[in-house]
C-alpha cells in the first residue's frame, strides 16, 4: 500500500518539479503527508481519474446493512472512489456519508490482517498468527467435540451485515443448529415485523414499503431520517417533503426530521401507544376512517371501536404531555391525506417491551386510513425470482431472521435439530413467535438451560455493543468451549475469541447475491474490485473450508464462488458476465397494489383479512387489541437513556474509519439546556454517565440543547468501544450498550426493550 502511494507521489514529484518552482517544495511536503497519514495527500497531482486506466466493478454497499448498489472505480490496484449506481433502485446514483467513506474503511490500517489463535486468557487480547489450514483444522475438531458431547444444537452462530448468509443461514442449517441469530431481529425489527404478520399477514421486509412518491402524509414515530442516513429513505423522504406531503414527527427530541416536520409531537417517552389509541379514537369518533376499506378488508372493527371509546385525546394528553388539540389536528391531517398516508414502520422498534402492541396500534391506523395496498400508502413488497443453489436437504430448516430475511412461515412446532432440540432462546415459552432472540441465546451459555450452548461463531456482530447487558455476555464468553470471531476490524469482542478469522472487505470479494424484496424486486451482484488485502479471506470461503472439514462436503459442492453464483444466476437467464454488462443489477416486476391482485386477498392472515382484533394474541392471552402500558419513570436525579443514530456512522462498525472518524470522532450526550444549567453543567463539558447499577461510561461531551425534553438524555449509538486495536475509536465517547444493564423482553416478538435504563450525569473529576 505504502509502496503504491509513494510511487504516485514520486511521479507527481517529477512532474511538478519540471513544471517549475512552486511545485517542488509542495511535492516534498506531500511525501511527508502521504507517509504520515497513510491514506491520501493533497497537492497538485492530476485527479485520480486521470492517473491511469479506470476499472469499474459493481457491488452493493456494506457500510450499513441497507445495501445500496454501488459503482467502484479502481486505478491500478487501488480503489479510488465509490459512487451510487444510477441503475440501482436503492441508490439511484447517490450514497450516504458512510457509503462514500467505504474506501477509507477498506484502507483502514487497523484492519485484521491474518488468522490468529488465542495465547493468553480469553479477553486478554493475546494472540499469535496461525495458518488458515491449522485454524480450520482446530476449529473443526472443537466443533465436532461439542457436537459429540452436547449435540450440534449447542453451537450458536450469530451474524450481521451482508456476508452473514454463509454462516447464520447456510452453514447453520447444513450443520444443524437452530441457534442462529441476528441482532437485526430482536434488537431491532422483530416487534414491527411480528406486528405486521399478526395484523396483515404481510411481512414488512428489509425495506419499509412506504409508497413515498405518492404520499401526502408521513408519520415518523422515532424514525430520525437524516440522522438515520439510509440513503434511499433520505431521498424519498425529502422528495415527498418537497412535493408538499405533510410530515408529522413523534419524538421527544427535536431531530433533524422533526426540524422538517409540519407537526412535531414532543411526546413523553414510553407513551406512544396512548397517542396512537387516541388517534384511533378520533378517526372512529369523527368518522374519518375509510369505511369501505374497513368493511372489505378487515375484521374486528366493532371490538376496536368499543375498545378505544375511552381513549380520548384528553385521556392521551394527560399521559403523553401533548396538547389534546394537537392530537386531534394531527389525526385529521392523517385522515385528510388517506389513503396516501402512513405511519412508517421504521427500524429499531425494541423500546419498552410492549413494542409489538405499539406497532399493532400504528398498523391499525394505517388500516383505518386504507393505506395497505393503496397508492401513496404502503405497497406490497415482492421478492425477486431467483433459485437457490441446489443442495441436499438441510439438517434443519429455519431462518435466523433479521430485517432482510424472508419470513419463515410460523409453524405450531418449531423445527428441531438432529438431536431433537428446538431453539434455546425460549421461543414459545418466554415469548410467542418470531425470529431467534439473539439476546436470549446468552443465558443458556451461562446456565445450561434449557440446554447448554458451548460453542459460538460470531460473524460481524459487535457482541458487546449490540446485545444489551454486556456484562452478562462477558460472563457467557468465559464459559464457552470455543469462540470463533470473523470480522474485518479488531472490534471490542475480538479480544474474547479463541480464533480470529480476518475477512476480506466487501470490495475484495464475491459474495452471495443480494435479492431485494421491493416495489420493483431486484438482484444485486458483488464483484471484487481488488484482491483480498493482507492474509484475509472472503466469508464464503471460510464457511466452505469449515464445512469441508466437518462432514458437510455435500452442501459445498461448488468448487469456486463463480460457479455457485453462475448456477443461481442461470435461473434468471443470467451469469456473472451478463450481470456485469447489466451494470450489476437486474430489476423485475412487482405487485405493489391491491389492484394487482384482481380481487384476491394479498393479506396472509388465516382469514385473508387485516386483523384489527388479533385472534392469535387473544388466544395467547396477550391482548387481542393494543393497550397502553405505563413504563417505569426515572428515579429522582436520573434521566431515561435514549439512543439513536447520527449521520456518519453505522452501529459500532465505522467509528474507526479514518474519513468518518474525522467528521465525528465521538458522540455527545444530549441534555435539555435548562436542566443542564440547573445541574451546573455546560455545553461542551465532559461527564460520566452512570446507570442505576453503577455502571459507568465516558467521559463524554455534553450537548446542552433546547432540542430535547427535560426527562431524558440521548446518545448516538456505537461509540465508547474499549478496543485498543482500533487506534481512532478506542475509548472515544460513551457506550449506550454498556449502560443497558437491563432490558424488557417483549412477550410477543422476543424483542429486547432497551429504553428502560436510567442514567445520571457525573461531572468529570
Amino acid at each position: 500500500m505504502a509502496r503504491v502511494e509513494l510511487q504516485i507521489t514520486r511521479r507527481n514529484f517529477l512532474k511538478t518539479a519540471f513544471a517549475g518552482g512552486g511545485g517542488m517544495a509542495l511535492a516534498g511536503r506531500e511525501i511527508g503527508r502521504a507517509v504520515a497519514n497513510g491514506l491520501t495527500k493533497l497537492g497538485t497531482p492530476p485527479a485520480w481519474f486521470h492517473q491511469g486506466e479506470i476499472k469499474t466493478t459493481y457491488n452493493y454497499c456494506d457500510m450499513c446493512p441497507w445495501k445500496c448498489g454501488i459503482v467502484v472505480q479502481t486505478v491500478g490496484d487501488r480503489v479510488r472512489k465509490i459512487d451510487g449506481n444510477p441503475l440501482d433502485p436503492k441508490s439511484r446514483g447517490m450514497l450516504c456519508a458512510r457509503g462514500q467513506g467505504g474506501v477509507s474503511f477498506v484502507y483502514d490500517p487497523d484492519r485484521l490482517r491474518a488468522p490468529m489463535v488465542r495465547t493468553g486468557e480469553r479477553g486478554a487480547g493475546k494472540f499469535q498468527e496461525i495458518t488458515w489450514n491449522d485454524a480450520f483444522d482446530q476449529i473443526a475438531e472443537k466443533l465436532q467435540a461439542v457436537a459429540a458431547q452436547y449435540g450440534p444444537e449447542s453451537v450458536a452462530i450469530l451474524g450481521h451485515t451482508t456476508g452473514d448468509f454463509w454462516f447464520t443461514d447456510y452453514f447453520a442449517q447444513a450443520w444443524g443448529t437452530p441457534n442462529a441469530g441476528k441482532p437485526s431481529a430482536t434488537l431491532c425489527t422483530s416487534p414491527r415485523d411480528e406486528a405486521a404478520l399478526l395484523t396483515t399477514g404481510v411481512a414488512i421486509g428489509g425495506h419499509e414499503p412506504m409508497d413515498w412518491d405518492a404520499m401526502r402524509c408521513i408519520v415518523l414515530m422515532g424514525s430520525h431520517i437524516g440522522e438515520d442516513t439510509r440513503n434511499t429513505v433520505m431521498q424519498d423522504f425529502m422528495n415527498a417533503w418537497g412535493n408538499g406531503a405533510k410530515v408529522i414527527v413523534i419524538d421527544p427530541r427535536f431531530s433533524s426530521a422533526a426540524a422538517k416536520a409540519d407537526y412535531w409531537l414532543p411526546i413523553k417517552p414510553g407513551t406512544d401507544t396512548a397517542l396512537l389509541l387516541a388517534w384511533i379514537n378520533v378517526l372512529i369518533a369523527e368518522n374519518l376512517y375509510n369505511r369501505e376499506y374497513v368493511e372489505q378488508w378487515t375484521e374486528g372493527f366493532e371490538q376496536l371501536a368499543a375498545h378505544v371509546q375511552e381513549f380520548t385525546p384528553e385521556w392521551a394528553a394527560a399521559i403523553t404531555e401533548l396538547d389534546p388539540e394537537l392530537i386531534r389536528t394531527t389525526a385529521r391531517v392523517i385522515a385528510e391525506a388517506a389513503p396516501a398516508a402512513a405511519i412508517m414502520p421504521g427500524r429499531h422498534t425494541t423500546w419498552y417491551g410492549n413494542d409489538t402492541q405499539r406497532m399493532r396500534a400504528a398498523y391499525i391506523i394505517n388500516t383505518l386510513a386504507g393505506a395497505w395496498g393503496n397508492e401513496g400508502g404502503l405497497y406490497f413488497n415482492k421478492s425477486p425470482y431467483l433459485e437457490a443453489y441446489p443442495h441436499p436437504p438441510f439438517a434443519i430448516t429455519g431462518s435466523a431472521g433479521g430485517c432482510s430475511a424472508e419470513p419463515g412461515a410460523e409453524t405450531a412446532e418449531l423445527p428441531a435439530g438432529p438431536s431433537g432440540k428446538i431453539r434455546a432462546d425460549g421461543a414459545r415459552t418466554k415469548f410467542l413467535r418470531g425470529a431467534t432472540a439473539i439476546q436470549e441465546l446468552i443465558e443458556p451459555m451461562i446456565t445450561g438451560e434449557p440446554y447448554p450452548i458451548k460453542a459460538l461463531i460470531v460473524y460481524g456482530v459487535n457482541l458487546l455493543n449490540s446485545i444489551p447487558n454486556p456484562e452478562r455476555t462477558l460472563e457467557a464468553l468465559k464459559k464457552l468451549d470455543l469462540v470463533v470471531v470473523i470480522d474485518v476490524l479488531p472490534q471490542e469482542h475480538v479480544a474474547w475469541a479463541d480464533y480470529v478469522l480476518p475477512e476480506a472487505s466487501y470490495l475484495e470479494r464475491y459474495d452471495e447475491l443480494s435479492a431485494v424484496a421491493y416495489k420493483t424486486p431486484f438482484i444485486q451482484v458483488r464483484e471484487p474490485a481488488i484482491a483480498p488485502m493482507y492474509d484475509t479471506k472472503p466469508g464464503w470461503w471460510m464457511a466452505r473450508e469449515l464445512g469441508m472439514r466437518v462432514g458437510l462436503e455435500k452442501y459445498f459442492a461448488w468448487e469456486t464462488i463463480e460457479e455457485y453464483l453462475n448456477t443461481r444466476l442461470m435461473s434468471i437467464g443470467s451469469n456473472l458476465e451478463k450481470m456485469h454488462e447489466a451494470k450489476g443489477v437486474v430489476i423485475q416486476k412487482g405487485k405493489p397494489y391491491l389492484a394487482d391482485f384482481n380481487g384476491a386477498s394479498p393479506f396472509g392472515t388465516p382469514s385473508g383479512k387485516i386483523q384489527l382484533f388479533s385472534d392469535e394474541l387473544a388466544v395467547a392471552k396477550l391482548g387481542g387489541l393494543p393497550e397502553y402500558e405505563p413504563t417505569a419513570e426515572p428515579p429522582e436525579g436520573y434521566f431515561r437513556l435514549t439512543y439513536g443514530r447520527q449521520p456518519v456512522h453505522t452501529f459500532a462498525k465505522t467509528q474507526n474509519t479514518p474519513v468518518l472518524n474525522e467528521i465525528t470522532p465521538e458522540n455527545e450526550v444530549w441534555i435539555n439546556e435548562d436542566v443542564a444549567n440547573g445541574l451546573g453543567i455546560r455545553h461542551g463539558d465532559r461527564v460520566w454517565l452512570e446507570n442505576e447499577a453503577g455502571t459507568r461510561t465516558g467521559p463524554v461531551k455534553v450537548k446542552s440543547t433546547q432540542r430535547i425534553r427535560p426527562d431524558l438524555v440521548f446518545l448516538a449509538h456505537g461509540f465508547g468501544s474499549v478496543a485498543p486495536g482500533l487506534s481512532r475509536a478506542n475509548g472515544k465517547g460513551a457506550s449506550d450498550a454498556r449502560l443497558m444493564s437491563q432490558y424488557k423482553l417483549d412477550p410477543i416478538s422476543g424483542g429486547a426493550g432497551m429504553r428502560i435504563n436510567f442514567v445520571r450525569l457525573v461531572k468529570e473529576a
Binding site: 497519514n37 493533497l42 474506501v103 433520505m234 422528495n239 427535536f254 449521520p647
Partner: protein, 254 residues
Amino acid sequence: MATYAFLLDLARCIGCQACVVACKTGNELPLGTKYITISERTQGTFPNLQGGFQNHRCYHCTDASCVAVCPTGALFKEDGLTRMDRAKCSGCTYCVDACPFGVPVMVDGISTKCDACTAVVKAGGQPWCVKTCPSHALMYGERDQILAEAQARVESIKARYPNAQVYGEKEAGGLGVVVVLPDSPEVVDLPVDPQPKLLVTGWQKAVQPLTLGLTSLSVIVTGIAAVIARRNHMQELKTLHQAETAGSEKAGEE
C-alpha cells in the same frame, strides 16, 4: 461565455454529511482537511423550535476577495467559479484574511479551498457533493438556470418558511453558490452584505502590483518574498486600516 454556479438549498439539507465525505474521497483530501462543514442551527426554546443546518463552503464570489489579494495568481476566476492552481500558491495567507466567509485555510503552508471540482467538471461530471446529495439540496449548472431554480424553490417553500429567500444573487457581485435560505442569512451566520475582511481595494492599488511582479521570479525568490511580503502585509494592513477607517465608515471588520 456561460458562468456556472451551485445551488445550495438549506431548506432541504438534512445534515447527512454525504457531501462532505464525497468531497473528501472524490478529491482525495488528506485527513484534517475538508471543503464543506455542516453545522446544526437551532432557534427558539423547547418546545417551540426551528432548526436546520448550515452547509459552509466556498461561495465562489464574482468579486472574489481572495482572487483580488492573491499575489501569485494561484486563485483565479474561470467560468464564474473561483478556481485554484495550488502549485502557484506562495503561502502568503492573504486570501485567508481577505475572504468574507472565512473559507480558505492553510494546509501545510498552502492555501486550500473548494475549487468546484474543476477536473471532474472538465471531464464532464458533476461536482462530487452535488452528485451524491440524497436530499437534492445541491445542484450545479449554468448560473442563470440555478438562479431560476433557487427562485422557484423559494416560492415553493413560502408556506413552510415565510421568510424564505434567495441569497447570493447580488451579494459580492453575485455568488457562485446560490443559497435557498429558509430564513434570514444571520440564522446560518451568513453576512447580510458580505464585505472583504481586508481592504481589498486599497490593497490592490497599493501592494498587489508589486508582489505580482515577483511571481515571475524563481520559487526561492518567491518563497523569500512571501515571507517578507507576509511581514510587510501585516504592516500595510495596519496602515491601510488606519487610513481607511479614518476616511470611511465601511471598513473591513476585525
